[in-house]
């Protein structure tokens, strides 16, 4: 039995093509995922991400807990509302999940974790609270009473559309710089996203989500499925958990070194393993020069040895196939490499792992 978000009926009413996404019945597109992709790059689109799980972390020891729990340093969170992208590691330095932490007060943080990893994440967090004997309570907000829906409104016109539909939130959100969140009445509105565009992610009581979804649609915001979400995040060079990294992969080999704070005396789970192993691979982009489509798990042949594509697809913005890949150290940006696609060796160029953001190609 697939799980459903509170917007399931709304998706079906909009003729969404529904798929099983990690046990959730989710929209992959509402007709054309390429059109939905362009809507977000050029105007405004919205995604139901209510399958993701908000987790409230409350108590006197919040900071001490989060400081040890994740590889990024919550000491960077000094201003209320500021968000931090972080990896939660196991003892071997593998990634249990990647998540966003919002700092609200010193005794109250909100974390948003991935849908497919929520149960194991919660169990891990609870176990660490007990092990470290801290005054922290962990409460998931996805299922059951007091659950939240999440709608991501993304694109250059996203803020204006949200203010058109929720004018009462404008004063509190118009000053939000990138990667901040604010409580506004019953909403939690954050300037975060997974597309490489400006916009808001809106958490709200689940029972109100469908009315907001329909109001945004009436205001001209295009409903977008997980298909477009994947090509948008791939173009923006944002990692997808389970593809670009998992429990067997070090964040240093997944392009996440910028989120790992190793140079202080702070201790965190996985730090000794990361320090011992160091970086083994580099995480870069590929653009296919021949005709075809790059996909996850395809082998890459370079002068320095073999690598592997972790995520690949067709880029609607570049009109070429692009990929994120784990490559041997020594491979340089600009190198030409070969990719094994169904037994044929096709030419690809190594690039920075960012292809398009803010409406245009950056490569």
């Amino acid at each position: 039995m697939l799980k459903k978000t509170v917007l399931n009926a709304a998706h079906r009413a909009m003729n969404a093509r529904m798929v099983d996404f990690g046990g959730w019945d989710m929209p992959v597109n509402y007709g054309s995922q390429i059109e939905e992709h362009h809507a977000v790059r050029n105007d405004c689109g919205m995604f139901d991400v209510s399958h993701m799980c908000p987790v409230d972390v409350v108590g006197a020891d919040c900071r001490a807990f989060l400081s040890r729990l994740v590889a990024n340093d919550v000491a960077k969170l000094k201003v209320s509302g500021k968000a931090l992208y972080a990896a939660m590691l196991n003892e071997a330095g593998g990634v249990i999940d990647d998540l966003i932490i919002y700092f609200l007060t010193d005794t109250r943080f909100r974390i948003v974790v991935n849908a497919g990893t929520a149960e194991k994440d919660l169990a891990w967090m609870q176990a660490k609270v007990a092990e470290w004997k801290l005054d922290v309570s962990i409460t998931q907000r996805r299922d059951g009473a007091n659950n939240l829906g999440i709608i991501a409104v993304q694109g250059p016109n996203a803020r204006a559309k949200v203010w058109e539909v929720l004018p009462q939130t404008k004063a509190a959100t118009q000053g939000l710089k990138a990667f901040f969140g604010a409580d506004v009445d019953q909403y939690f509105i954050a300037s975060t996203g997974y597309t490489g565009e400006d916009g808001y992610e809106i958490m709200l009581p689940a029972g109100e989500a469908e009315a907001l979804w329909n109001a945004l649609n009436k205001a001209g915001v295009a409903p977008c499925g997980l298909g477009a979400r994947d090509t948008l995040r791939l173009e923006a060079g944002m990692n997808l958990y389970g593809q670009d990294m998992d429990e067997t992969v070090s964040p240093l080999d997944a392009g996440l070194a910028w989120t790992v704070s190793l140079n202080t005396d702070r201790d965190f789970v996985g730090k000794p393993a990361l320090t011992a192993a160091g970086q083994q691979k580099q995480f870069l982009g590929l653009i296919l020069l021949d005709k075809g489509v790059l996909r996850g798990h395809q082998q890459i042949i370079t002068k320095q040895g073999n690598g592997e594509i972790t995520s690949g697809s067709f880029s609607p913005t570049l009109q070429q196939s692009i990929a994120l890949a784990r490559l041997p150290l020594g491979v340089q940006i600009g190198d030409e490499v070969e990719v094994d696609i169904r037994g044929k060796l096709l030419k690809a160029k190594v690039t920075k792992p960012v292809f398009a953001r803010n409406g245009k190609a950056v490569i």
Partner: protein, 126 residues
């Protein structure tokens, strides 16, 4: 609801076939198949002159989302490929029954009789 044409034959692997007056068979993917795949961005066609047994991989269609094999619905030799479909894969999304992929001369034209008719395929695709 995907479209099915009454004058065509169908394979359970979602190819359609049209028997031409010259005895050749035109093959494409069904409307149901293009809808399931989503926006197509790449089509790889077989070599003209190549022979394929029934149910062998003969072509590849890739959408933004996924790659899918196209199978030879019956045994035969490829006589012509539709380069226009390879150059504009979106034409298969627009009309899967006019954007054919290849033509083949069947080893045994009677093999077509074993394929699904429109009603049987419709039932299968639902």
């Amino acid at each position: 609801m995907s479209k099915v044409l009454a004058n065509l034959k169908y394979a359970a692997s979602h190819e359609w076939m049209l028997l031409n007056a010259d005895g050749s068979v035109t093959v494409g993917i069904t409307d149901h198949a293009q809808e399931a795949l989503g926006d197509l961005v790449f089509v790889e066609l077989p070599d003209v002159g190549a022979h394929f047994d029934a149910e062998k991989e003969i072509a590849v269609v890739e959408s933004v989302k996924a790659a899918a094999d196209v199978y030879a619905p019956i045994a035969g030799t490829v006589t012509e490929v539709n380069q226009a479909a390879a150059e504009a894969p979106e034409s298969v999304n627009q009309d899967a029954y006019s954007a054919w992929l290849f033509k083949m001369t069947p080893d045994n034209v009677a093999d077509l009789d074993k394929m699904l008719d429109a009603a049987a395929y419709q039932a299968l695709a639902e």
